[in-house]
């Protein structure tokens, strides 16, 4: 029975680990697409083609090898990112750029389809099973030359944008409310939005230059945390005291009031009583002590001492 439970737990643990592994590719996002590349980024062969940028939105490295890129929802396994190439490992919050040049023989990052500027381009990223859709986008027709179509912030999805719009009243005025926008400042293999200031710090400088807001908020949180902890441990303490009363009542057959007297004593009193008993009864302590100026023989050395070896039973 125990073995079955252990096996069950092991299986549960393994499935959690596997699901965590599988989840990691779900952090990949199609981040930016350039359909008409005339005077923009060139590939390793010095040629200009449309490109698709993939972003790893997770805090860990994700290997995109084995995943599929396609421009046809009915053919999810159109281009498999080859395995065995170290460059397919995308570092945290970093990018990988795929060339839509229909020339996969040119390397790992050259897919076997191209993008058509005349019509909308559907692009999708499927997981290694070829079934699970990780991310997709439809780039509208009529793209302008050397202007990319990308996410408003690297790796964002609609949920994240909605959250920002809900929490930050000024966001819509500053950045609009669309997830995908056109970028004149094209950023292949780098962040779509280039940050030249720390927004948090700037907000504090603007709205709380004296620091009073921070002080009040932070002290409020510190007090709140410790007050809740205080309340919890006050309750736990009361329960513990009541339990110890009950135990004393049960063991000694005394009344509740007498039990309170017994358990209400502090540790110091018990320590003092213990010390007094020790002093009164342990009188033989000094009997074996011999004070002498003669040399005393030692029949052991550190080499043979059990204290200094590993023969002691290990402590738990």
């Amino acid at each position: 029975m125990k073995q079955k439970i252990r096996l069950g737990l092991l299986f549960l643990l393994l499935s959690i680990v596997c699901s965590v592994q599988a989840q990691r590719t779900t952090a990949l996002r199609i981040n930016e697409v350039l359909v008409i590349n005339e005077d923009n980024f060139v590939d390793d062969y010095g040629k200009r083609f449309p490109w698709i940028e993939i972003y790893n939105s997770s805090p860990g490295t994700v290997n995109i090898a084995g995943c599929f890129l396609t421009n046809d929802i009915n053919k999810p396994k159109m281009y498999m990112v080859p395995k065995g190439d170290v460059l397919t490992r995308i570092r945290p919050r970093q990018h990988a750029l795929f060339w839509a040049d229909k020339m996969p023989t040119r390397g790992t990052f050259h897919v076997n389809f191209s993008l058509n500027p005349e019509e909308p381009n559907f692009i999708a990223l499927f997981d290694s099973d070829g079934i699970t859709l990780i991310d997709s986008v439809t780039v509208p027709a009529g793209q302008q030359t050397d202007i990319s179509y990308g996410l408003i912030e690297d790796g964002w999805d609609q949920k994240r944008l909605n959250e920002e719009l809900r929490l930050n009243a000024n966001y819509k005025d500053k950045h609009g409310d669309r997830l995908w926008i056109y970028w004149e400042k094209v950023t292949p293999s780098s962040n779509n939005k280039i940050l030249d200031t720390n927004e948090k710090i700037e907000n504090f400088k603007e709205n709380d230059s004296v620091g009073a807001g921070m002080t009040m908020t932070a002290m409020g949180v510190v007090f709140a945390g410790l007050i809740i902890l205080y309340l919890i441990f006050k309750s736990i303490g009361n329960i513990a005291v009541n339990l110890s009363h009950r135990r004393v009542m049960k063991a000694s057959g005394v009344t509740k009031e007498q039990a309170k007297d017994i358990t209400g004593q502090s540790g110091d009193i018990y320590a003092a009583i213990a010390m007094a008993i020790y002093e009164a009864t342990e009188l033989h302590d000094e009997e074996n002590t011999i004070l002498t100026i003669k040399n005393t023989a030692r029949n052991y050395s550190p080499w043979s001492s059990k204290i200094y070896t590993l023969r002691e039973a290990p402590k738990r």
Partner: protein, 384 residues
Amino acid sequence: MDFISFLGDNLATFWTYTAFANITVGHGIMLLVGLTFIYLAIAKEFEPMLLIPIGFGILIGNIPFKDAGLQLGIYEEGSVLNILYQGVTSGWYPPLIFLGIGAMTDFSALISNPKLMLIGAAAQFGIFGAYVLALAIGFEPNQAGAIGIIGGADGPTAIFLSSKLAPNLMGAIAISAYSYMALVPVIQPPIMRLLTSKKERVIRMKPPRVVSQTEKILFPIFGLLLTCFLVPSGLPLLGMLFFGNLLKESGVTRRLAETARGPLIDTITILLGITVGASTQATQFLTWDSIKIFGLGALSFIIATTAGILFVKLFNLFLKKDNQINPLIGNSGVSAVPDSARISQSVGLEYDPSNYLLMHAMGPNVAGVIGSAVAAGILLGFLG
């Protein structure tokens, strides 16, 4: 003759490599600071476990040398000191120190009298007082947050937060935090005497009740869940603190607890101390900002001590007479474990030789550790 001039040239070149040829006034000043730290640690026994490694680290970091790509300095990538310093810059030494602190801290005093936690919260005003002052003298909010944490009187927390918010100020902040922690016996007693009356100083507090093992086990679990649900950014420090404490209190992981509070914390303390000390190279460290940080650090300790004591006095207004708190334990809300609690004890004994405040002072003292880690988490969340 050629041979002699050849040797002479080599000796002249060698001379340019020596510290004598490269020393500046700044290096001289920092060497004196290092020697002072070592003196204070040995002669006055001010926090020797910290001041000896830091003081010696300052000596190591301020031996000048010619920058010839020899990978000697702490700021040279790949040098031995630089590799050891990564524990500071990446912020993984402080959580390991917290693991050890958790494994050696007995929270019984706090559990038996949980209202003492609030004193630990009040003392965190030192952090935010220094934050306000730092803003007032022109520091950026993130720098002000990193400087303010000096008032938490917690070296590992100060290093952790400054490495995230203001890495360029980390050396000055760490040195300032550790210096003032060592100087707690000098800074706190005058404030304690100034803010309390003779009558208040002899208040006798109820002895703490005996705390059951179950309560001790529940404390780190509830402590972690509550504080980290509230401030997840405090997770590295608070997680390790409470984990260490559970190792201690569970009773079934004695070896792990002994390692955490013994060899592990000792090793990390050595590495942290020596590298923080060595990071104070005069060229990087001797700036006006460092001087300002030292001034703000002193003020933050004063504010924290004052806030702790005044809070106890205020609290006493709402407590029954037989349940009053001696305001002399208010200073121990400044974490600096266990020094500030010892100060409560020694100042208390001056006025009543049979009034032992140490066990009571340990409550706010360890609450201060939790409070400063929570405060650091808030600052990191807001400004990081």
